[in-house]
């Protein structure tokens, strides 16, 4: 990768398509509106813009890395292919019955999300495997043929195959695929033992169905994109960012499109990890706040934390359980409905509530003057002096403070007997508290103490709120990198080639079988390495080994990282010691006398991470030139303070600015409260640290 000198990162988001070109150490970027009907149009447009800025030709591009929300959107908007599921007899309704619970207990009119495939598109066959992987009932080829004929008559474009315990024994799923391939060679097939070989039928079946559902759409899009780029004179290979924070080939992406879900946010986490590496920071909290949501991710040792399952397409106030689970390797993030456009109201308990409803871009927050009557977070930020009404988005949108005040008074202040300023303070504090709570819970779930962390903030609204979050979380240092508006696309260019293979196999430490472990991990390593090799024929490939362990009887596994030596020469004592070490760290104390078991095994193959040069940090020099002053509300002391205004572009390396100060640029404003000082570091980051 390091040999490529001209690289293009492309991130298709919900509103904008971001394009970043790196060439000989220089970065050129642009944002163009996403073109929903033909997303490749925006890419071509954006590409030509950055090529023109850099003055190079399409044929000179050495590598393109692409991430997209198209897969996620197709799932959310149910725009996938006509798809059928073939599953085990007796289990036709697994994807519909979910967990048999209500994700919101206090709503009598609750409706559960519809499964991706209605019941008439779900078919069963008799073959059955047991929990040891042994065949209980043989698969009957004639029966499969009859089912496939029935499906054929329905004009199906894609078929998912998900059978009970197939993660232990995939032969029945492979037989079904073989029959489909013979009878319906043009229909796409996805089998659960390949897409997501993990125990728990609901998650696995839903994942294979999601993969099948978006496969034709994504394959066709990726094919078109390749053709268009070729026509424009691009001759390099194209790679895709996956949700686990690495890149895969366009062919793998077309086969496993479900792995592309969440590729944009994954790019953001990789971006933050790269900043962390420049500063040698081992404990980082990335904070990305946009118009409708905020995302928070823990980055330890410059590596974003990953997980095996996540939920996509939440339908009910971002509530856990209201979406559908996808079990694939993914960067672990919390996402809450809190952004600049999030709307505020007062509930029956006279409590201020913010989000997840958003003002969107039409009518937008009240201050846009487009008829919005409900106050958004942006309105509160404006009233509190955090935004300059005449210099929002580089002056392109004029903000109306009076409209904000009116909305805040009408919808919040009047009920609570507060003026507009008190209401704005309340709204800002509630949204910041919501985000801080999400970060705290996430940290506790991972056994981490945030006071040891540094925050890295990006996304349009994050710099306005990040320092207050730091105050609430006891975090002393905040970095706001350059290029924060196109952070995900820059992150794509920093990601290694990687692929994680995993499998569910139960093993108690009392039945520890070293030979079996070695063979299992060797297989997984070969599988994962194979994927990476298709992307990069020469680089060394590293393998990262992880097993998920718990006390027998518990329902929650914790990931245990193993060295290659520990993995390839498995020793029961080492496994036990590693588990007890990590368990004690998370939960305080180990439990005596319980057997321990391993449930999931995983190997992540990756090219070596890009060598990152440590920057030489400055402790600051001269004060930055002050362009203006204005009163900005200081949440910690609950009053307005006279604050300086500094242009980010006027800050030379080492320039200092003491809080309270607003550091302004076209895309956003960094609010540095009275408790903190800011220094511009050599890489362009604004480094905001606690005074004294």
């Amino acid at each position: 990768m390091a040999t490529s000198s001209v690289r293009l990162g492309v991130d298709i988001g919900g509103t904008f398509t971001d394009v970043v070109l790196e060439h000989s150490g220089q970065t050129f970027s642009t944002k163009v509106l996403t073109t929903y009907t033909a997303p490749e149009d925006a890419i071509i447009d954006g590409m030509h813009q950055v090529l023109a800025k850099a003055d190079i030709k399409p044929s000179q591009i050495d590598q393109i890395i692409h991430g997209t929300t198209l897969a996620t959107n197709a799932l959310i908007e149910r725009r996938g292919a006509k798809t059928a599921l073939i599953t085990t007899e007796g289990f036709r309704d697994v994807i519909e019955m979910r967990t048999e619970s209500r994700f919101e207990q206090y709503d009598l009119n609750l409706n559960l999300p519809e499964p991706l495939l209605p019941r008439q598109m779900r078919f069963t066959v008799k073959g059955r495997v047991d929990a040891n992987g042994h065949v209980l009932i043989d698969m009957d080829r004639t029966e499969i043929e009859a089912v496939v004929d029935q499906i054929a008559a329905m004009g199906v474009e894609s078929i998912a195959v998900g059978l009970i315990h197939s993660y232990l024994n995939p032969t029945h799923e492979k037989l079904v695929r073989e029959v489909i391939a013979e009878k319906l060679p043009n229909v796409a097939v996805s089998i659960s033992s390949e897409v997501s070989p993990q125990m728990r039928e609901y998650e696995r079946f839903n994942t294979v169905v999601a993969n099948a559902y978006i496969k034709p759409l994504m394959a066709s899009y990726l094919g078109r994109l390749e053709d268009r780029l070729k026509n424009e004179g691009v001759s390099c290979r194209i790679f895709l960012m996956h949700s686990g924070g690495g890149i895969i080939s366009i062919q793998n992406a077309a086969d496993f499109p479900v792995r592309l879900v969440e590729s944009g946010p994954a790019g953001g986490a990789v971006f933050a990890a790269h900043v962390a590496a420049r500063y040698g920071l081992d404990k980082v909290l990335s904070f990305d706040m946009g118009g409708t949501t905020a995302k928070i991710c823990l980055i330890k040792n410059q590596t974003p934390k990953t997980s095996r399952v996540f939920e996509v397409a939440r339908t009910y106030r971002f509530k856990k359980g209201s979406g559908m689970p996808i079990s694939i390797p993914v960067i672990d993030m919390v996402e809450i409905g809190a952004g600049g456009g999030s709307l505020a109201h007062v509930d029956a308990m006279r409590q201020i509530r913010v989000g997840p409803e958003s003002a969107g871009s039409e009518p937008g927050p009240a201050c846009y003057g487009r008829g919005g009557e409900n106050p958004a977070v942006t309105d509160a930020d404006l009233v509190l002096g955090k935004l300059d009404p005449d210099n929002f988005a580089g002056g392109s949108i004029k903000l109306h403070s009076e409209a904000s005040k009116l909305a805040l008074s009408n919808q919040v202040g009047d009920t609570l007997e507060m003026d507009a300023v008190g209401a704005a303070f309340g709204v800002a504090e509630v949204v910041d508290e919501n985000m801080a709570n999400a970060a705290r819970v996430h940290a506790v779930e991972n056994g981490e103490d945030l006071s040891e962390y540094t925050m890295i903030a990006f996304g349009g609204a994050a710099p306005l709120h990040a320092a207050r979050l730091c105050e609430k979380l006891g975090v002393d240092r905040l970095l706001v990198p350059e290029g924060a508006g196109v952070g995900s696309a820059i992150g794509f260019l920093r990601a290694p080639f990687s692929f994680e293979a995993n499998r569910s196999v139960y093993m108690k430490l009392s039945d520890f079988d070293g030979d079996r472990i070695r063979s299992l991990l060797t297989d997984l390593k070969a599988e994962a390495t194979g994927f990476v090799r298709t992307c990069d024929e020469v680089s060394p490939i590293l393998s990262e080994f992880k097993v998920y362990m718990r006390y027998t009887g518990q329902g929650w596994e914790i990931p245990i990282e193993l060295t290659e030596d520990q993995a390839m020469n498995p020793d029961v004592g080492t496994f036990e010691a590693r588990f007890i070490e990590d368990y004690s760290k998370l939960f305080g104390r180990p439990v005596q006398g319980m057997d321990i078991e391993i449930t999931v095994w995983s190997v992540n193959a990756t090219t070596p991470p890009e060598k990152v040069a440590r920057i030489s940090e400055t402790n600051g020099g001269d004060a930055a030139p002050i362009s203006d002053t204005r009163p900005i509300f200081d949440a910690a002391s609950a009053k307005y303070l006279d604050a300086n205004v500094v242009n980010r572009l006027d800050m030379a390396v080492g320039a200092r600015a003491a809080g309270p100060v607003a550091i302004v640029e076209d895309e956003t404003t960094i609010i540095v409260p009275a408790s903190r000082n800011a220094i511009r570091q050599p890489d362009g980051c604004i480094d905001v640290v606690t005074k004294g």
Binding site: M199, G588, V591
Partner: protein, 569 residues
């Protein structure tokens, strides 16, 4: 700070306390051994002021703990005695009457001290795997047979754990390591809450919780009373009969809206059962209160003030107010039916708000597997206990169909069958929706489900059935039809009972059909599009479409032809 800004600070603190208890509950879910906690969310956690008033409670899998938790700390204060409450103490009980309704729930309370001053309490409850006695089932004749009873007492005194108590616990239960593990998990979860509370008190410079407590309780009380005051000031009576163990049980309740409170009076309800399906008042109160709150004030968080206006009256030693020493292990069966009985009354006060009857109690069963005894068993055959949670259909709502195979009023989750089959040599042959089981109506009842259970080759088993609605299916509302009843038989046709421990021989399977929810409104008013959709999906058969909904033969043929061609309906 001006008054306005302290109001903002209180807003933030209330949010924080709710987050603290959610975090406290999450810590428990991750470390508990009990299946019902980790898989099903059968737990609770809360924070209290120094007077024992609950300020915030985590929203977890079961409403059954709602009021029990609110009342519990007051019992602890009374039993331990204020002068004996010291920093470093941890208290414990599983008293069904002063805790949460049966010996299988352990409640632990930890006083919180800030700068040497007692400022509040944290409490949490979890359903544990085993507490000795006869095991989890309805077979006991008194609470003495149901297991070890731990009165309210100190588990730790000024930081020192009572080793005598832990030895007694260990000596009386089947899974001592797991249970002690769970006890420590409960203690840790309170500790996590305590640490976060102290952080908050430091951040906001609080010396006690009096101010924030008043803010939370005043606002919650006012909001709840506003909702109650807006209701018609009337009384109405509801009634429902269910199977019970050996003889049917009638739940009778008079709901009265009286100004600033709602009283639910269970006078007229059946007396105690000989078997352990009796329900202590605290658990009845929880579900009655849940039913009313979910109907009229769903978004008001649970705390002392928002729960206080819901009053419960029940005659002593009726099945909904079982006194010591009645057996109460399976108190959930009656408890889960309480909301349907309350809804029957409330629907007469505010029509068009509450659903028709649903499956009600969870369709749980436990299988005890062992090597076959009728012939030589294979060498690898083993003993194992496997518990599963399953749900029937919920009742149709005025404007929405009932939910298919979804728990109500309980909020617990089922387990993946792949996980269940790893827990022991059991085979789940079928777990899928049960067509035609949802009661017909303008809105249809939720579908129940089929399950078939057998054992791996070489094993036989006992099944402990905990099902109801065999003889008393869910009743429809406003012209809606009844849901389908529970059925249970062996695959060779051998009959079985809805409740109790029953033997299943080698090679046999148990075939179960769990009940559907009832319908709401006249089926003739159901939209034809929805009837066709239900037929296309197979939620209803062609026969039901014709009989219950008057779909013509031509329309039925048209739907079936469209399905075969893959057209979406």
């Amino acid at each position: 700070m001006t008054n306005e800004h302290s109001n903002v600070a209180y807003q933030v603190m209330w949010n924080r306390l709710i987050s603290v208890v959610e975090e406290q509950a999450q810590a428990l879910v991750r470390t508990a051994f009990s299946t019902s906690v980790r898989e099903a969310g059968d737990l609770s956690a809360g924070v209290y002021d120094v007077g024992g008033q609950m300020l915030a409670q985590a929203v977890t899998g079961t409403p059954g703990h709602v009021n029990a938790m609110a009342d519990a700390v007051a019992h602890f204060i009374r039993r331990i005695g204020r002068p004996n409450i010291c920093e470093g103490d941890i208290y414990i009980t599983n008293d069904p009457w002063e805790g949460t309704g049966h010996l299988h729930d352990i409640t632990m309370v930890t006083p919180s001290f800030h700068n040497g001053t007692h400022v509040g309490f944290f409490a949490c409850t979890a359903h544990i795997v085993d507490i000795g006695g006869r095991g989890f089932g309805a077979d006991a004749h008194s609470v003495h047979e149901e297991g070890l009873y731990i009165p309210i007492m100190k588990f730790a005194d000024k930081g020192t754990v009572d080793e005598t108590l832990t030895r007694i616990i260990r000596g009386n239960v089947r899974e001592p390591d797991q249970l002690i593990g769970d006890v420590y998990a409960l203690a840790t979860c309170n500790e996590i809450g305590h640490r976060r509370l102290i952080e908050m008190m430091n951040e906001f410079d609080l010396v006690d919780l009096a101010g924030i407590a008043e803010f939370i309780l005043d606002n919650s009380r006012r909001a709840t009373i506003e909702r109650i005051a807006a209701l018609p000031q009337q009384s109405a009576t509801g009634e429902m009969t269910v199977d019970g163990f050996d003889s049917p049980i009638t739940l009778k309740v008079k709901v009265s809206v009286e100004g600033d409170k709602i009283v639910s009076d269970f006078t007229g309800t059946t007396g105690l059962d000989k078997k352990g399906i009796n329900c202590p008042l605290v658990y009845t109160k929880a579900y009655a209160c849940y039913a009313l709150k979910v109907a009229i004030a769903p978004e008001i968080p649970n705390n002392a003030a928002s729960l206080a206006p819901f009053e419960i009256v029940a005659p002593e030693n009726s099945i909904v107010n079982a006194l010591h020493p009645a057996p109460v292990a399976l108190r959930h069966i009656v408890g889960h039916f309480v909301p349907d009985a309350v809804f029957d009354a409330f629907d007469k006060i505010v029509p068009g708000l509450v659903p028709a009857e649903g499956a009600g109690c969870l369709c749980n069963f436990q299988v005890s597997l062992r090597p076959r005894t009728d012939a030589p068993a294979p060498i690898n055959a083993r003993r194992s206990e496997v518990l599963t949670f399953n749900s029937g259909g919920s009742g149709a709502r005025p404007d929405h169909d009932g939910l298919n195979a979804t728990a109500f009023p309980s909020g617990v989750m089922t387990m993946p069958i792949e996980a269940t089959e790893h827990a022991g040599p059991v085979i789940i042959w079928r777990k899928e929706l049960r067509p035609d089981s949802g009661g017909a109506g303008k809105t249809r009842g939720g579908l129940g489900q089929y399950m078939e259970v057998g054992a791996q080759e070489g094993h036989e088993f006992d099944i402990q059935a905990m099902f109801d609605r065999v003889d008393h299916p869910a009743r429809g509302r406003r012209g809606g039809g009844a849901g389908a009843p529970t059925t249970i038989v062996q695959d060779d046709g051998g009959t079985m009972n809805g409740k109790g421990k029953q033997f299943v021989a080698h090679g046999r399977k148990v075939v179960m059909a769990f009940p559907g929810g009832a319908g709401y409104g006249d089926p003739s008013e159901r939209s034809v599009d929805l009837i066709k959709r239900d037929l296309a999906r197979g939620y209803i058969s062609a026969k039901t479409a014709a009989q219950d909904y008057n779909l013509s033969v031509a329309e039925i043929d048209e739907v079936q032809a469209a399905v075969a061609k893959g057209e979406m309906i």
